[in-house]
């Protein structure tokens, strides 16, 4: 399989094309606004083209997860190699990229959402150069997280996102942008410093023999960390089911939970969403939240399978809280964006529940839900953006009867809303069914209780539709124009994906099937060893 282009691997292209775009944007004089927009769009289109290449060339039969040999599009170079001294072993950090079924849907999603986000930023006028430069840097950070297999590299990309996000919310956001931006920054940094400590502890515990000399080398290779045989005896995280391993898992978990966000770490999300400009809300909901659950699947659970199983029940329970609490909060909102923000909390709960089921249906449901939530919520935020651009209000009670005034817009919005509430025939339904089916086998009562969330979701979604589209059209909105072509270009592809995957989900399910199976088997298998007294 040819995974090079101009002798540089495709994943490197995917990750760093936005940086190239960023540099180009910075070199253009700030008066040439159109050029800046087109360069940014160009960068994301190239990224999208590469993602199509990945989609077509990806071998669906290879599982990846804990096996470096079945990772695809692998690029592996030595980055930092520090010689050993008498009292300190050799340090090896690699530039190690690769994807498997867990990451491919996320990579595709990131490319798609970045493209949509650039399109939806077309109307930004304030310091446009800085805006697009930061947006592209953010894109690099997100893509990097999904393709890194070296924990150090993963962490660097994870942190690179923070600063652009801070500025994008803080400079281009709404009235309370400063508060929202700093809250986002501090919450996320709090999570990631805990992750840093676990990263360090893992690093000292894991060592693998060097291929040529046989010398033991400490490594940040995530795949090596998944193999219990690589843990040095008497190191901090050696063994299975030790309290240090539980603590380390919880540390990682908090880091990822803040990103998801899992109750009770969710309070930054509504603030950030409400204040962020539309494109940033789209990225936030579409991609950033997925990093949390992706991190759990890619890092926390496979590296600490024993702890993951130990904390399975709490995870499912947190999923339940997210689903029901998020839905209840959403119901109480009168701000359109806040409503969607809480609906995200609720929908991410389904991912957690599916993951906690620890069977193939549940895992596939969770992974698929991540993808679907990305597309559906992106649509929802774009829809809010469209109406906000025209009316400068997001108050749900300010609208009414828009159906006749904006028919095309209403059609799109109905698709998005029904997808979000899980109507059969749209993509949200498939992933929710998988997640709940999987979870029902493992956690009967929690799952039954969680289905309450579906009813609540239907409730607030339909109520919102009613408030916005039906009833009397207020006098002041009589002159509203319908959705324009640029807005259609960003919404229609998403709508098509949502419908297509609702009717025929195989294209995406195929990608993750092998990996989901492998991930579940791997996590469960580890525990069997301990039961057998290993």
């Amino acid at each position: 399989m040819n995974n090079n282009f101009l002798n540089i691997g495709i994943l490197t292209w995917m990750t760093f094309i936005p940086v190239v775009g960023m540099i180009a944007v910075l070199l253009v004089p700030k008066e040439q606004k159109t050029t800046i927009r087109w360069i940014s769009l160009g960068a994301t289109i190239v990224q999208l083209i590469f993602s199509v290449i990945i989609y077509t060339n990806f071998d669906r039969s290879l599982a990846g997860v804990n096996n470096a040999a079945t990772m695809q599009f692998v690029e592996r170079y030595s980055w930092i190699d520090i010689k050993s001294v008498e009292w300190f072993g050799r340090i090896h950090i690699e530039y190690f990229l690769g994807i498997d079924g867990i990451s491919v849907p996320m990579v595709l999603l990131t490319a798609l959402i970045s493209f949509v986000a650039v399109l939806s930023s077309w109307s930004i006028e304030k310091s446009i150069k800085g805006y697009f430069a930061l947006l592209l840097l953010l894109d690099t950070g997100m893509m990097g997280v999904f393709v890194s297999l070296d924990f150090f590299l993963f962490y660097v990309f994870w942190e690179i996102m923070l600063l652009p996000m801070y500025f994008l919310i803080g400079i281009w956001g709404g009235p309370r942008r400063e508060y929202a931006a700093i809250k986002f920054f501090i919450y996320t940094l709090f999570g990631s410093v805990l992750m840093l400590l676990v990263l360090i502890a893992l690093y000292f515990s894991v060592s693998i023999p060097d291929a040529s000399t046989g010398e033991l080398v400490h490594t940040f290779d995530m795949i090596a960390m998944m193999n219990p045989a690589n843990y040095e005896a008497n190191s901090l995280l050696f063994g299975l089911n030790t309290s240090w391993r539980y603590i380390a898992y919880v540390g990682l978990f908090i880091g990822f939970a803040i990103k998801v966000p899992i109750f009770p770490f969710h309070t930054w999300l509504p603030d950030a969403h409400v204040e962020a400009p539309t494109a940033i809300s789209v990225i936030l909901a579409g991609v950033l939240l997925k990093m949390g659950t992706y991190g759990l699947m890619r890092v926390a659970m496979p590296i600490f399978p024993d702890a993951a199983i130990y904390y399975l029940y709490p995870l499912a329970f947190l999923g339940f809280i997210n689903i029901v609490y998020g839905a209840l909060c959403a119901m109480a909102q009168t701000d359109f964006k806040k409503l969607i923000a809480y609906s995200s909390v609720s929908h991410m709960g389904i991912v957690l529940l599916g993951m906690a089921a620890l069977n193939t249906q549940g895992m596939i449901g969770a992974m698929f839900q991540m993808f679907n939530h990305g597309t559906i919520t992106a649509m929802l935020f774009l829809i809010v953006g469209v109406i906000y651009d025209r009316t400068h209000t997001r108050g749900l009670n300010d609208f009414g009867g828009l159906m006749n005034q904006m028919p095309k817009y209403s059609a799109i919005m109905v698709i998005a809303f029904f997808a979000a509430l899980g109507l059969p025939g749209l993509s949200g339904f498939v992933s929710e069914v998988f997640s709940f089916l999987g979870a029902f086998q493992t956690f009967r009562w929690i799952t039954i209780a969680s289905t309450l969330g579906i009813v609540l979701t239907a409730g607030y979604m339909l109520w919102t539709l009613q408030r916005v589209f039906l009833g009397e059209l207020p006098e002041k909105w009589k002159s509203l124009t319908d959705i324009n072509n640029r807005e259609l270009i960003m919404l229609v592809p998403l709508a098509i994906i949502v419908i297509l995957l609702g009717v025929y989900p195989t294209p995406i399910l195929d990608l993750m099937n092998a990996s989901a199976n492998e991930l579940v088997d791997f996590i469960k298998g580890e525990n069997n060893l301990t039961i057998l007294g290993q």
Partner: protein, 495 residues
Amino acid sequence: MLEQVYNSLQFIKPELILVGTLLVSIIVDLIFKNKKVVVAFVILGLVLSFYYLTFLNSINQLIFFNMYAIDPFAYFFKIFLLVATIGIVLFSVLSKEISDLKSREGEFYYFLVALTIGMFLMTSSTNLIMMYLAIELTSLTSYMLAGFMKEEKSSSEASLKYVLYGAFSSGMMLYGISIIYGLTGSFDLLAINMAIADGVSSLALLISTVLMFVGFGYKISAVPFHFWTPDVYEGSPISVTTILSVASKAAGFSMLMRTAKIMFIDPYAAPTVNDWQIIDSVPIVEILTILSVLTMTLGNLVAIWQSNLKRLLAYSSIAHAGYLLLGVLTMNNEGYSATLIYFVTYLFMNVGAFLIVMLVSNKLNSSDIDSYKGLGMKSPFIGVMFALFLISLTGLPPTAGFVGKLYIFAALVNKKLILLAVIGVLNSVVSLYYYVRIFRNMFLRESDIETPEIKLSLAEKLLILVFAIPTIGLGLYFAPLVEFAHASVEIFSGN
């Protein structure tokens, strides 16, 4: 006896060159009206000293009757001090405060050289009297530098406060030294170490150790000996503030680390690979732990409330001393090397940050955080560079500051001091809050008053880049730095 002195001379060429530079510069200053000539001589002397220093990289021995150590550890710090001093000389050339001194401008530079000599002596001394003299030499020069703008009330006030605190703590230290002499009958660190290992009154030893730490704590501005720091940093010329926060702190740390390692490590214990065996009777680790936790927490918390950038950076530098102490208190090679790594990253990011503050205050005559409103939008180069230095000070990747923090926390985790590591990382989250206040003013807020765009000359931009490039470069590729630090933890300890 004379032969010993004569043989020792070859090892202190860098110091001798500095002394020569000092003397020559004084004469040059008297002859030439144009003070840039003095600057040229000073830089020449520093570079020459650097050149001769590089010959000493692998030597590990005591000279001058065991008073002075030439070892990789001292080598590291001397390189560090020379780089810092050269940087600060260039920095001062661009400073309006310094060039406004007119006829006294030359003096400023040769005092810098005198300060460097004092700091060199601090890094190498292995004898308590020698150490005391080195501290005094450094301190006296610092007092003069802090009060260098004698027409300014704040500068004189800074100098006076510095003198008072300095005199007090050096008195305490001297008292500690005298007790140790009474206990052990020696000023030589190695001899003291043997005497302590053989057993001395632990109460007296504790008291004398604490008293000595007052002196060190003052030099590195550790809490609760930090009270002079904010006022002195605020009142002194920014160039001087920068030296005090980087070079003088480094010299203090090198002395603290040397003393801690030589005096308190059990000479009878079997040699170990990484961890050192500490003599039971001295709670050195506990003392360092308390100092460290207090220093970083207080530094960070108080920094939140500051509205003057010089003060804010003063508290931030106190906090950084706390992180550095985390590396020291592990009392092993790994922690010591982490401290060295941290120092190098700290040099670039902290001098860089002060450089921006200096350049902005050249133009706006203010270091107030409010005067930075809208600055990032008006002068994007300054804004972005300042943001880079601040991110690095917070410790986010991919900057040098992250690498420094990474190694400090790694040393703690490896020693299973998880709680301290958690306190450390939480502190860095707190520190984010006040660094972000500066970004916020630069980029998120509009200026209330009409401020001019700040135009930088080419030299000013280049000097910023001199600090900015390592700040990002060491974040992306840090292997040489780590290897240098690993090679430099070897402290001469008699065996």
